[in-house]
């Protein structure tokens, strides 16, 4: 009896919610649906990015959780484990997909334009399908056995040490690696979705919407790289303090690759700003100001961290 009442309340709640959504979207469903219909490419890209990042993130979490689970030592088949991981990875995305489709259907019916929803739904479905497949494959491809085997076992694999030579490339790579670890795409995927939707809502074309997404992505990376430069300078200085490394030998390799990335990224952002009908002087100003700030910050971070 109790369960029946709960189910009845849930059904009533869903019906009321659908009705509320229908009434809510009826006023602006025409403009909204036609924007999505026109910008189907943007819908596809946003859905793809969201699916890749969501599924790969869930996949990594599922793998980590499985390795710590009390069931990890149980004699379960590999297929059963994969099915379990698939449920973990796809369940939430599937729910979100169905919800968005439902809202689109309600909007189409409420606005009397049910034919308009076909293209956005197709783009959404294609984005989710491709993105899910890529997201599923990403953690799989990186999954390697990383535990140390017994010292008493026969070693079958060995790294090639013949090419081991003194090089500061690792120091140059460090800030970039830190920036990538700080700014994983899935951490800002909701931001991408919001930026894309706002771009469309404010009347931007699909190309401009994608350009805005690109600028946001690159700008986010450049800010992360700037921040990474500061933290890595301190860590690297601590690590290398017992060595006789000179200031130039420390600061230049540390900043070299980061500066190159900053320069390329800033030029791309400036080009996008210029393409969006801004004056070339304003675009050049962006490059000069940002690169000036970057160089000042890197120089300050290196000089305050280094101590002979």
């Amino acid at each position: 009896m109790g369960r029946a009442r709960t189910a009845a309340i849930a059904v009533i709640g869903i019906v009321v919610s659908i009705a509320a959504v229908g009434v809510g979207v009826a006023h602006w469903s025409d403009a909204w649906l036609s924007a999505l219909h026109e910008h189907w490419l943007l819908v596809l890209i946003v859905a793809g990015i969201h699916s890749v990042t969501s599924v790969s993130r869930s996949g990594r979490h599922a793998m980590a959780a499985w390795s710590e689970s009390w069931l990890a030592t149980a004699p379960l088949s590999a297929a059963a484990v994969r099915v379990n991981r698939a449920i973990d990875c796809f369940a939430m995305l599937l729910l979100q997909y169905l919800l968005v489709c439902l809202v689109l259907a309600i909007a189409g019916i409420a606005g009397g334009e049910s034919g308009m929803i076909l293209r956005p739904v197709a783009a959404l479905s294609a984005g989710v399908l491709v993105g899910s497949a890529v997201g599923w494959w990403l953690p799989e491809s990186k999954h390697r056995e990383q535990r140390e085997a017994s010292r008493y076992a026969v070693h079958v694999a060995a790294g090639d040490t013949a090419l081991l030579q003194p090089s500061d490339q690792g120091l140059s790579h460090w800030p970039v690696a830190r920036a990538m670890s700080m700014g994983r795409p899935e951490n800002s995927r909701l931001l991408f979705v919001c930026v894309a939707l706002f771009a469309v809502q404010s009347g931007a074309s699909a190309v401009r919407g994608i350009a805005i997404l690109v600028v946001w992505t690159i700008a986010g990376y450049l800010v992360s790289l700037l921040s990474a430069g500061i933290t890595v300078a301190k860590e690297a200085a601590d690590w290398l303090r017992p060595t006789p490394v000179s200031f130039v030998g420390f600061a230049w390799p540390l900043a070299r690759r980061a500066l190159l990335h900053q320069a390329i990224g800033t030029v791309v952002v400036a080009a996008a700003v210029f393409a969006s009908e801004a004056a070339w002087l304003a675009a050049a100003g962006v490059v000069v100001l940002w690169m000036g700030l970057v160089m000042a910050v890197y120089a300050f971070a290196a000089s305050t961290s280094y101590r002979a």
Binding site: Q146, T161, P166, D168, L240, T243, P244, S246, F250, P253
Partner: protein, 243 residues
Amino acid sequence: MTERVLEVAGLRAKYGTHEVLQGVELHIARGEWFCLLGPNGVGKSTLLNCVTGRMRIDSGEIRIGSYSMIAQPLEAKRLLGVACAPEQLPGLLTGRQCLEVYAAAKNLRSIDAELLEVAAQLGFTRFIDKCTDTYSLGTRQKLTVLLALIGDPALIVLDEAFNGLDPASAVTLKRLLRERLSQARCGVLLATHSLDIVEHYADTAALMLDGRVARQWTQAEIAELRKAGGEGIEAALAAASLR
């Protein structure tokens, strides 16, 4: 007189207002394995941090070879090989990158074949292209030791470097250090709680208490304690600690 690779005189250092080192005196000769013992928190790691230039000192002198760590730090550091704490390794770099960067920082033209052989003996080679974040404690220790051995340094400083090492790797490393010492290529300063190393490998052992060297044992004294059997070294340490 045997050449001294490390000389510490009247060393004082403090964290804020707390004086951790209160006039430490010690010296290590080329070919000598010097073990630093003592309870937690008496200043062993602080002493090593001062010797390796990680921490500024308040007064006193540290000389590595013929160079002052305070007045000529770069020259002094050219003679130094330090195994940093495993958690200080850059987690985003691979073992290969760590070795290459350290060799470049020491201004070396190449990484000698002997070091690569040691890496192979320690079973480290197959982890060389993985990020240090993925290493076990033992594998990290192996990398820190390899970093310390780069460039054939005159003074090797190790802080609990045998922690987490599997027995085979630990023996390999002890033999390797012993061989280098017998060829008078270096001196070794090791902070440890392992009395087994003191008993079988150390030439000199020192007990630190309250920021200074409270008691020192020569190789002959260590041999005497070893011959006495039973709790020889442990008992001697306990007695010295209670004084």
